[in-house]
Symmetry: C2
């Protein structure tokens, strides 16, 4: 599988049990700012890891909410659906990001979380997290920050969906994706998409054909190379310019 090489520089097959203290996602995940003793306690709480094969649900809309999940390896999407068949991808989650925050509101999940490749998550029982965060103010604050960050992210997506044209949306999406990959030690210019054109389209409020056409246009304009899901960003500044300028 040479195509995946650019996105798997870190441990290939890691042991099932990795303490938060020695987890390479420590600085992106819930434990930010915790000292050694606190990390130990958090470890006691995060008892289980859970593998989620590609295409499988981590949880479904309507299921009872009991735990949050931290992505350890792999890649997920979350989607909400309405009574009539429509559904909307609300986000893509990669290593270190938290899934399930929507479930707190009513003790039931409000979206589906689906693995886009073979993945694994750390299970964080929510009742215990609340308990522990009463003792560790740093953990409490970090948790609140993560929830707040999700709200800020959502507002950014609203801006994108409400105001931007197709090319602006896709450019913003690509920049966001590469930035997050870069924060995890991957190349900011070369990446392999884990999702289909249709899933990108659903997230961006576009049809898959529009996504495809816009990729082609970016390629024609020399901004990037597109070979199916294998992408190479050639002109990051050019993409940024598309996002910034409403008219040009």
């Amino acid at each position: 599988m040479p195509g995946m090489a650019t996105q798997t520089p870190l441990a290939a097959v890691e042991p099932l049990k990795v303490a938060c203290a020695s987890c390479n996602l420590r600085e992106l995940c819930l434990p930010v700012g915790l000292n050694a003793g606190e990390l130990d306690q958090l470890d006691g709480l995060v008892g289980k890891r859970r593998p989620v094969p590609r295409g499988e649900h981590l949880f479904r809309n309507g299921e009872r909410f009991e735990a949050l999940y931290a992505v350890r390896t792999g890649f997920f999407k979350t989607c909400v659906g309405s009574e009539d068949g429509r559904d909307q991808v609300t986000g893509f989650q990669m290593a270190g990001e938290l899934l399930g925050l929507d479930g707190i509101s009513s003790d039931h999940h409000h979206c589906d979380a689906i693995a886009l490749e073979d993945s694994s998550v750390c299970v964080i029982p929510y009742a215990q997290l609340e308990e522990l965060s009463r003792d560790f103010t740093v953990l409490q604050h970090q948790f609140h920050k993560i929830m707040s960050r999700e709200i800020v992210r959502d507002h950014g997506v609203m801006l994108l969906l409400g105001n931007m044209r197709a090319d602006e949306r896709l450019a913003a999406f690509l920049l966001n994706l590469t930035q997050r990959l870069q924060a995890r030690g991957f190349s900011p210019s070369s990446l392999v998409l884990r999702m289909t054109r249709e899933e990108i389209g659903s997230y961006l409020g576009l049809k898959l054909e529009t996504v495809s056409r816009t990729f082609s246009k970016f390629q024609d304009d020399g901004l990037m190379e597109v070979k199916q899901r294998q992408l190479r960003i050639l002109d990051q500044a050019g993409l940024q310019a598309i996002v910034n300028n409403s008219r040009c």
Copy 2:
């Protein structure tokens, strides 16, 4: 001011100091589930009320985050803006709803909050709220629920912006608005809008002309009466049907 009558059945000019325990928004706001002693403590925390005249900012994007605000009376909008001039209304807040949650993520506000009519808010210093919620698990849980509910709401808006047509968006907006007004003891069928067509359009990802036209269409179809900002819902089920059916 006869036009406002339908939306001011409760206390006209209330005293500046109202304890959470005797606040009529108790069941919609942060204090849900707290006992008498806990309410007292929360009251100690929520020291100040702050009036916000129509058109004024409660807070601005970039300002230091120090407190959350509970709407006591009046009506607000929140909006985010991008570098280039675009901006997007991310929500409308009425009595009992919390403002400022986005600020937790980085100690700075990420949006503007603006009063759409003369309003007042309860100031909830955030550091003290974190502290108090370490002692009162009910308060802690209620606060988490409120944040989570905002995330769920945002995902609903994404679905709306990503998948729905103009008439579906406006119908969904009207139903949401009347439902929230009803929860506060107002008529579910008669209401006065506090925002302009442009603000509605910004929230729904539409231009003001489209909002206006769609109102006119709903009126022609006998679903509602529209006299400028004075609305009367004649066929709630009809609006619901528009939201549910993607094609009809």
